[in-house]
Amino acid sequence: MAQKILLNNIDVPGLATFEVYRKLGGYSAVEKTLKSLTPDEVTAEVKKSGLRGRGGAGFPTGMKWSFIDKSTDKPRYFVCNFDESEPGTFKDRYFGTLNPHQLIEGMILGSYALGAKTSYIYIRGELFYVLQIIEKAIEEAYANGFLGKNILGTDYSLDLYCQPGGGAYICGEETALIESLEGKRGNPRIKPPFPAIVGLYDCPTVVNNVETISVLPWILNNGADAYSSIGVGNSKGTKLISACGHINKPGIYEIELGLPVEEFIYSDEYCGGILNGNKLKAVVAGGSSVPILPAELILKTAKGEPRLMSYESLAEGGFETGTMMGSGGFIVMDDTTCIVKNTLTFARFYHHESCGQCSPCREGTGWMEKILQRIEDGNGTMKDIDLLFNISKHIEGNTICPLGDAAAWPVAAAIRHFRAEFEEHVKQQKCPLSR
């Protein structure tokens, strides 16, 4: 049985209440840390654990923390990014609903390490019911002395707030999140300066994903070495994967990084194989923005080695033959799926969610959607396929924030690996897979 860090108690009834969470050993990491470790020691421990950001980019968390500007007198802020809205990714919502106290405990630990006196959980507006659960949990934590003035009698005080956003995907980009949290239009900022120097209210700020923060209590309870003993290479620990699509057992799974993709898809412990015994066609391994891979490349790398669920192995081969770990939204498609239509759905999403600030993304995402719609409807030309690929190449890397890349990658990858299917749409003047 694989080691579980986040989901080990998830089935315990009433886990969202303070009593149950506390009875299961909750908040012991706060007790231990606040009384026996300095903030720098906490940062060092997280650095040593090899924990990487679970929001998508996979940046080492301890490293990110160490960038925070401690030279100014300005307050520092710790912010939790709960704006989960990537199509295919639904792990944070699940976890936050059932185990809000572990997130709050992680918030206390992170805030302590960074010296933040005020912290925020920025939650996507649509998740209002989760907001209510978290606010209730925050109240309980205050009532039991884990938040507020002089936590557990130490001289460390922390206020934690849960702030709903307006429900925009772009506000999951950390600088747009900060703008939105300040009450402004959620437009990403131009970097540099990075939030670690100029963040929320122009003060040094660290923004971390829900899953990243929720792992902190376990790391501080069990030690960095215990955490880094799980996983392979530079992919340490466990990861929540939200699996969906044409599989027998869609749902949220906690895996040890390094699990073979083939085992994840076909074993009964996880996805349980392809629905109706159909053939696997393609997988989007990390949420809609990462490049789609055909069956042969997701199960084995171009070199013929088995592909593993880890940052390095999924990225093996670059974008030519690889993909990304992303945020863990694992979308499986069988051979009844039309890749063009799937790409169109993604493109429509990014068109809808573009903030409109910079021109390649504002104009390019809509253009790609229109061309994909044309091809799917059977009105496309061969020239459209090249045009589409070129547009994606001209958006990629030319925008203020990564939303442009996120919109461009799935389109480029779909054409790269499934060009024949696009051409078939043009030749037949209809979708060959439409029923």
């Binding site: 131009i190 409109g356 910079c358 021109s359 995402t365 809509g366 253009w367 001209h394 890397g397 030319n398």
Partner: protein, 307 residues
């Protein structure tokens, strides 16, 4: 403070630390200066949005010679000592600039024949210099109805490229901003609170900072093509602003008053609405003499002075 060295398109220039690549290029001048559609040196926080000034940083600095992984917005990237920048010498930059021009034109109506901005439109210049001769699009453009925002300014949202300059003018020059960007993505638009008039002593500067014909002067609309008018520097005693303006005359008649723009199309000084809209009589002004027209722009058509 000691100056630092930066090389742009093989030309070396010394600038103060903190200077942007764009400003360093402007110090060199000529063809190496990247085009700007949203950046405006007099407006704080402007730039970075249109991406037409993207350049390649082939060497980050003398200390860290690694190239930057992506093209960078020259208007918002500070130079480092020993930085090597490629603008017109990089095929990658030119290719992407062509693409950015295409993106900017994707929802732009190309109604130049009936647009008052024609002749002094930055997008017209950009597409003339970097655009394709043919079009890749068959799609419909997004459309809005033109609206009057107050009795002096007309908003043609169809032509807007969302540079945010007019929003920044209102933020930084006037007491209260009553317009902004509503909506998201390619359906976002410049708009006022429920068609509220923009009524402020300095609101007219929005017209001058608009790079395209989205905001035009209602007192001048359809009176003349700009290249049929002749510009004269003039001034008057104005209690609100410097009173230094350009009069655009056809014969003896003053058709339009604008601020004075430098060779990058940026206002030297912002002027008040009184000077701009209310003084169109020759007796109101002390005329200093004809103003030089930049050869760069389409407006130089019909003007025959030598460079």
């Amino acid at each position: 403070m000691s100056l630092i060295k930066v090389t742009i398109d093989n030309i070396e220039v010394e600038v103060e630390p903190g200077t942007t690549i764009l400003q360093a290029a402007r110090k060199i001048g000529g063809a190496v200066v990247p085009p700007t559609m949203c950046y405006y040196s007099k407006l704080k926080g402007s730039g970075g949005k249109c991406r037409s000034c993207l350049v390649k940083v082939a060497q980050g600095s003398a200390k860290d010679p690694r190239p930057m992984p992506k093209l960078v917005a020259s208007c918002r990237t500070a130079v480092m000592d020993g930085m090597v920048v490629q603008n017109i010498t990089s095929p990658e930059v030119m290719e992407n600039r062509r693409a950015i021009t295409e993106f900017l034109l994707l929802n732009h109506p190309l109604d130049c024949p009936v647009c008052d901005q024609a002749g002094e439109c930055h997008l017209q210049d950009l597409s003339y210099e970097h655009g394709l001769a043919e079009t890749n699009t068959i799609e419909d453009r997004r459309t809005f109805k033109p609206i009057d925002i107050g009795d002096k300014i007309k908003l043609h949202m169809n032509r807007c490229i969302l540079c945010y300059r007019c929003v920044m003018v209102a933020d930084q020059l006037t007491d209260q901003r009553v317009h902004g960007v509503l909506g998201r993505g390619d359906h976002s638009e410049i708009s006022t609170y429920i068609e509220k008039a923009i009524d402020n002593d300095f609101s007219g500067n929005m017209i001058d900072v608009c790079p395209v014909g989205a905001l035009t002067d209602r007192t001048f609309r359809f009176k003349s093509r700009v290249w049929f008018t002749k510009p004269f520097d003039a001034h008057r005693d104005c209690p609100k602003c410097s009173g230094k303006v350009v009069l655009w005359k056809k014969g003896d008649e003053i058709l339009r008053v604008t601020g004075r723009k430098d060779k990058y199309g940026e206002l030297e000084e912002f002027i008040c609405n009184d000077c701009r809209f209310e003084h169109k009589d020759n007796n109101d002004w002390v005329i200093e003499g004809p103003r030089k027209i930049e050869r760069h722009s389409v407006i130089s058509q019909n003007h025959y002075e030598k460079k």
